[in-house]
């Protein structure tokens, strides 16, 4: 009985290990996509636009009348 139970548990863990490998692969695939986007010129350009927008919206920045555009 106990031998049967151990066998069952071992096979269940094996299934879970396989699932883990699948998930790792899926995660890697998503991370690659993420990295590709992050390293693209377009994304870097977009980040720059976002940071400029933030700076312009900053009231502290707007209060400086002597800022030379």
């Amino acid at each position: 009985m106990k031998k049967k139970m151990t066998d069952y548990l071992v096979s269940r863990n094996k299934q879970l290990e396989e699932k883990l490998v699948d998930l790792e692969n899926k995660k890697k695939e998503l991370e690659d996509q993420y990295v590709t986007i992050h390293e693209s010129k377009a994304y870097k350009f977009w980040r720059k636009i976002q940071s400029c927008k933030k700076t312009l919206k900053n009231p502290h920045f707007l209060n400086h009348k002597d800022v030379n555009f």
Partner: protein, 423 residues
């Protein structure tokens, strides 16, 4: 047919064939049969039952956080802890709560107002209990258990006199076991014992054969109804958190006993061996078919599922979003976190206590117990890793979706296409 619904069904646990777990399986099976989309949530899952759910094409999850962005039409919740969780993760989702009893803690109505559309009760006794707790009458609907007539049916005729007995119980106390054994021995009956109390859990699809091989079934609740579906006569003598039992079911007491869910608590009898022997003298095989007809009329899943879908539609139609008060929101947050913390530490303490076994190779362990423990903790460790990976994947998908749906990304994609064409 009306538009199919997307339904979130929950049960606190799903790892063995006991009351609400079986109800969940049948509910999901028949909702799918009617063409609705079903996602099932439970924190405590067992492989076998998950496989059954997946065979019904029901998606099973053990973490609501991972599906909180999905859209549902309604949540059919069983157990109060799940009601808190569903409201926490889905603040604007219509919800019905199905209450299966009034004794177990998990069946108690939530302590804070969660904007539940209807409280469904499996019988009138539970309905009265819920009403006494202050739930308005118009919010309580009696919705009886559903029993699968495709799984429980007459395979062979019942004997004219009692020859074979089935003891079907998950919780039977030693005292009651002794009484049953004594009766069986005195009458010289053949008996089979199944259920977790006998360390002999049987798959639900095999239960029909066990019941059909018996004439009389010692059981309560769902087991009693399933026995009647098979044309067998149940005797309500099982553990029910009280000392009471109801004895033999017949057409005369069916309607009365049904309002207590055949729990064995209706007549408040304290039965001795002699009382059971007296009851068994009233055994009449013809009652088998009559009880079957009555049980089908009240619990047949095909009819019941139509009723519940009507209730869902009514709940969706009348649902009004309501924000929880600041205080209730705080309580809800603390409840959810408490459940999660308690769950984490209950697993982690075992991991810490058995760290000596965990690090070893299974082949180096001598006793079977050590091997079993080793594999169990390896399973917990693997499950934790799977959960954490699922969380990471969920977050990545969320981020990627956000990026891919942004105007700039779409513009960039178009620009890339144009570049390709030019090249």
């Amino acid at each position: 047919m009306k538009k199919p619904l997307r339904i979130l069904v929950t049960n606190h646990h799903l790892y063995q064939y006991t009351g609400t777990e079986v109800s969940s399986l049948i509910l999901c099976k028949y909702l799918r049969k009617e063409g609705h989309e079903v996602v099932f949530y439970s924190k405590y899952l067992g492989n076998k039952l998950v496989k059954t759910m997946e065979d019904y094409k029901v998606k099973v999850v053990d973490n609501l956080n991972l599906i909180r962005n999905q859209k549902f039409d309604i949540a059919h919740v069983q157990h109060n802890i799940c009601a808190y969780e569903v409201r926490y993760y889905f603040p604007d989702l219509p919800m019905v709560l199905w209450v299966h009893g009034y004794v177990p803690f998990l069946e108690q109505v939530p302590a804070i107002d969660l904007n539940i559309s209807y409280i469904l009760t499996i019988n009138k006794t539970v309905r009265d209990h819920v009403f006494k707790l202050g739930v308005p009458k118009h919010k309580i609907i009696v919705f009886r258990n559903l029993v699968d007539s495709e799984a429980f049916y007459v395979k062979k005729p019942i004997s004219k006199t009692i020859k074979n007995v089935l003891v079907l119980s998950n919780k039977l106390s030693v005292e009651k076991q002794t009484v049953i054994e004594s009766v069986i021995n005195q009458l010289g009956l053949k008996s089979v014992h199944i259920g977790s109390v006998y360390n002999n859990m049987v798959d639900n699809n095999k239960l029909v054969d066990y019941i059909n091989n018996a004439d009389l079934v010692f059981t309560i609740s769902l087991g009693a109804i399933e026995s009647m579906f098979c044309g067998r006569i149940p005797i309500l003598f099982d553990e029910n958190s009280t000392q009471f039992t109801d004895g033999l079911v017949d057409t005369g007491n069916f309607d009365f006993l049904k309002e207590n869910g055949f729990s064995g608590r209706s007549l408040k009898r304290i039965m001795t061996e002699n009382d059971i022997l007296d009851d068994l003298q009233k055994y009449n095989y013809k009652q088998g078919e009559l009880l079957r007809k009555k049980a089908l009329k009240n619990y047949e899943a095909n009819q019941q599922i139509k009723k519940i879908v009507d209730i869902y539609n009514q709940a969706i139609k009348n649902f009004k979003k309501k924000q929880l008060s600041k205080k209730n929101n705080e309580i809800l947050y603390h409840l959810i976190r408490s459940v999660e913390e308690a769950r984490f530490y209950s697993i982690d303490v075992l991991r810490a206590q058995t760290s000596t076994i965990q690090g070893l190779d299974i082949n180096s362990l001598e006793s079977d117990d050590q091997k079993i423990m080793h594999e169990c903790f390896h399973y917990v460790e693997l499950s934790n890793r799977v959960n954490s990976l699922n969380e990471k994947i969920f977050q990545l998908k969320l981020d990627l979706n956000k990026i891919k749906n942004s105007r700039y990304y779409l513009l960039w994609q178009k620009f890339n296409k144009l570049k390709k064409i030019i090249k």
